[in-house]
Amino acid sequence: MTARRETDARSALAPRPIDWKHLGLIFLSRYGTIFGLALMIVFYSVMAPNTFFSRANLLNILSAASLTAIIAAGLTYTLVVGEFDLSVGYVASFIGLIVVGLMSYQGLPIWLSIPAALAIGIGLGLINGALVTKVRINAVISTLGLGTMLTGIGFSYSAFPIATGIPRAFTNIALGRVLFGIPNPVFVMLGILVILWIILNKTDIGQKMQAVGGNIEAARLSGIRVDRIKMFAFATAGFCAALTGIMLSSLLGSGTLGVGDGYLLDAFAAVFLGSATLREGEFHIVGTLVGVLILAVGFNGLAILGAPTHFQPIFKGGILILAVGMSTLARRYAASN
């Protein structure tokens, strides 16, 4: 026994030799995504200096990124607590339709229809959360099920795009440029990211979310009401998805079925890219932003270089696989150390 303990103490005290391969991998797993983003920007700037690296185009990128960033930030919360939400895209579509419908069909004023739409988004998130925590349905199934149902409900609400009876004030939300000529969605995105970052890092609910995602058993034994924390994460995802849906309708000036569906994949790719950023396989808000920017810059550059449209899904799917792969490897690497 004594000898066993001695070896234990020895191995703890002995300085480890520097393992360059290990350090290299750590660097790659932490800064690889940021490095990739920088490389992309340099590459596109060199290839298309006048078009890509112009103020108008950069604002364009940011503007496109902001809607994805909002929905992805909400999705980040569900992944932080170790769950999943495949309904975010459908919720965005659904709420985008509903918010316009409330103004156009129901004749509600804008200041009422937007909060109502956001509340519905939170409610949908809570339904997802309840299905996962109370009924204990696997999140993949329950959120996909609910999302699919929303498509049908949206269709029954309005089979055609709603393009009339939309107040100017509504379209101005996303199209306007209140400050420095920067599109409004960028500010909304920044606001949401800052709030979600503060909640995740500076409040007890954020600490509890990280604890639940880190080790659910340990979190339970620490007296954390795990189910409530997960419900909160799903509600946040619902809220963010709803906000993206509202901004999208404002941008398009209409409520159209299915316009937000595509955000699901973008958001997932961004969140997983983000989890391989700065930290080893953890989901966090800053990382998600980096992930979103990679996607936005990537798409924008492809378009500017004149890549055919069918390149986009190839890029998107490829990035998703790459992102999840990097995130998984990073996590496995962190676990083995």
Binding site: R4, K202, D204, Q207, A219
Partner: protein, 530 residues
């Protein structure tokens, strides 16, 4: 794998005391394995003859499982070699072990519940096919013969999920025989069998042995081992400490070998004798849960370190989980400060002031991706808010609490911002105690608090536990390490098969007594077969 020179060395290391018949059907020589710098098995030499029933005993963590896992090919030994029938076994390959004729029956019985007994027995066996389809009739000839041989009297088409535990054991043995196993290792086979079922198993084991199938019998039930085994190998702290033929050992000798020859006299340490006339802090009243806990009652008094001794599977962990709200008791209840508790979940237990430092530090206690400070503060966030009523945490309060506790428990970390995963096991354990110190628990249950912890850290953990007890926190320590119990406890309750088998106080607290009570009840001569 190994050069010849190594083999000679291994023989030399064996020494004359371990001289064995070279014709052993299975020979293990110099098998050594360490995990994270800790030697789990060192220089193990074991011989098993054809058809021998070979007992393998030792305390928890003595190295039995490691030895078995090496044989099964699921763990790769650091050094040492194994020959079977004169041929060296390729280690680290479950397939190679199976082909060499080794079969393993773990306590959990790795069967597929939805499959029939027959399908389970034929799992992984190449099947006869006709036109590409499985010909079950032909394929099952050998399985049916095996079933016949061990007297499986139920239809083999039955699903395993419908079978009793005893019948599942037969399926596992039948499965081993279907693939011509020449040795079957059995881990605690009688743990979940009734008396008559155990007898049936023993008679099967004897028949198999007569047919030339060796049995490696791992059990805590020493009387069974003595009765059944031709030879017994005793492990302690990763070493083989004794090997004896049938009749050369008795139970007393076995117990001595398991815990070590140097049975120390009860320590002269001053043990805190709690004032039992006073009100207990925490009471357990007739608590029962399934088969694991069968009506347990006791009290924890102010100032004392109460320890629960016993073997793994005695129901101690389950009892701790019941108190901490992880499980709900089928019967009975708990009282804190004389008030009856109704606890539905972990959060309510924590709210009442009951905290559990669980057995599995990494999988149940720590959030490995978080910092030392976060891990310490996670249970007391409500206290660490910047403004009461608002959810924002005060960085300063959190840092001060974590730093104070890191200092108090002398947790060695470069900073409270370091990831907890980078700390040694002992310091991680101290951080978990710090978590509940910061929270202000009324009752702290520590399940195996010094498992995998070095001796210095163990002392510090013990000091912290004692200090907590003296300060008025109710303390229950669960440990399978009798040495630790004797060192730490002011009072020891021993559990055996879901019940309290005895209580030790003051000078009676000795390793040998604890072990004895783990295997017997306090006032009966009989023990294990109940």
């Amino acid at each position: 794998m190994l050069a010849n020179g190594d083999k000679f060395d291994a023989f030399a290391d064996g020494g004359s005391a371990n001289a064995r018949s070279p014709e052993g059907w299975m020979q293990i020589r110099g098998l050594t394995k360490s995990f994270a710098g800790e030697l789990a098995l060192r220089d193990a030499d074991v011989d098993v003859a054809r058809g021998e029933v070979h007992g393998l005993v030792g305390a928890n963590g003595a190295g039995k499982s490691t030895l078995i896992r090496c044989l099964a090919g699921v763990t790769l030994a650091d050094r040492g070699w194994i020959t079977i029938n004169g041929e060296e076994l390729r280690q680290g390959s479950p397939q190679a072990s199976e082909q060499a004729g080794l079969a393993f029956i773990h306590q959990e019985l790795n069967l597929i519940p939805r499959f029939s007994a027959l399908q389970n027995m034929l799992l992984g066996v190449p099947k006869t096919t006709r036109f590409g389809l499985i010909d079950w009739k032909r394929s099952s000839v050998r399985a049916r013969a095996a079933a016949e041989r061990i007297g499986m009297r139920f239809p083999l088409e039955r699903r395993v999920s419908e079978l009793s535990v005893a019948e599942r054991w037969l399926v596992m043995i039948g499965k081993a025989l279907t693939r011509d196993a020449s040795m079957i290792a059995m881990d605690e086979p009688t743990a979940s069998l009734s008396g008559p079922e155990s007898e049936q198993l023993f008679s099967i084991i004897r028949d198999l042995s007569a047919d030339g199938v060796a049995i490696l019998y791992v059990s805590h039930r020493l009387e069974e081992v003595l009765e059944l085994c031709d030879r017994v190998t005793i492990l302690r702290d990763g070493r083989i400490v004794e090997e004896a033929e049938r009749g050369r050992l008795d139970k007393k000798g076995l117990v001595r070998a398991i815990i070590g020859h140097d049975i120390r006299a009860p320590e002269d340490r001053e043990r805190f004798a709690a004032d039992k006339a006073g009100k207990p802090i925490f009471s357990v009243r007739d608590v029962a849960w399934r088969e694991a806990v069968k009506g347990v009652s006791f009290d924890v008094y102010r100032g004392e370190v109460l320890a629960l001794g016993g073997l793994i599977g005695a129901g101690r962990t389950e009892l701790a989980q019941l108190a901490a709200g992880v499980r709900r008791p089928d019967a009975g209840h708990f009282e804190l400060d004389g008030k009856r508790l109704g606890i539905a979940n972990e959060a309510e237990a924590v709210k009442a002031g009951i905290a559990l430092v669980p057995e599995e530090r990494r999988s149940q206690g720590l959030m490995l991706q978080l910092s030392v400070g976060n891990n310490i503060n996670i249970a007391s966030l409500a206290k660490l808010r910047a403004f009461p009523g608002l959810p924002f945490l005060s960085n300063g309060k959190g840092r001060r609490q974590a730093e104070r506790l890191v200092g108090e428990l002398s947790i060695r970390t470069s900073s409270i911002a370091s990831k907890i995963a980078t700390l040694s096991g002992g310091n991680q354990q101290k951080a978990l105690i710090a978590r509940w110190l910061g929270f202000g628990a009324r009752l702290l249950i520590l399940d195996e608090p010094s498992r995998g912890v070095d001796v210095g850290a163990r002392e510090e953990i013990h000091d912290a536990i004692r200090a907590l007890a003296r300060s008025g926190v109710g303390i229950i320590v669960i440990s399978s390490d009798v040495e630790e119990l004797a060192m730490l406890a002011d009072r020891v309750l021993v559990m055996r098969e879901g019940r309290l088998s005895g209580e030790l106080t003051g000078a009676d607290i000795a390793e040998a007594r604890i072990i004895e009570l783990s295997y017997h009840d306090a006032h009966s001569g009989k023990g294990d077969k109940a």
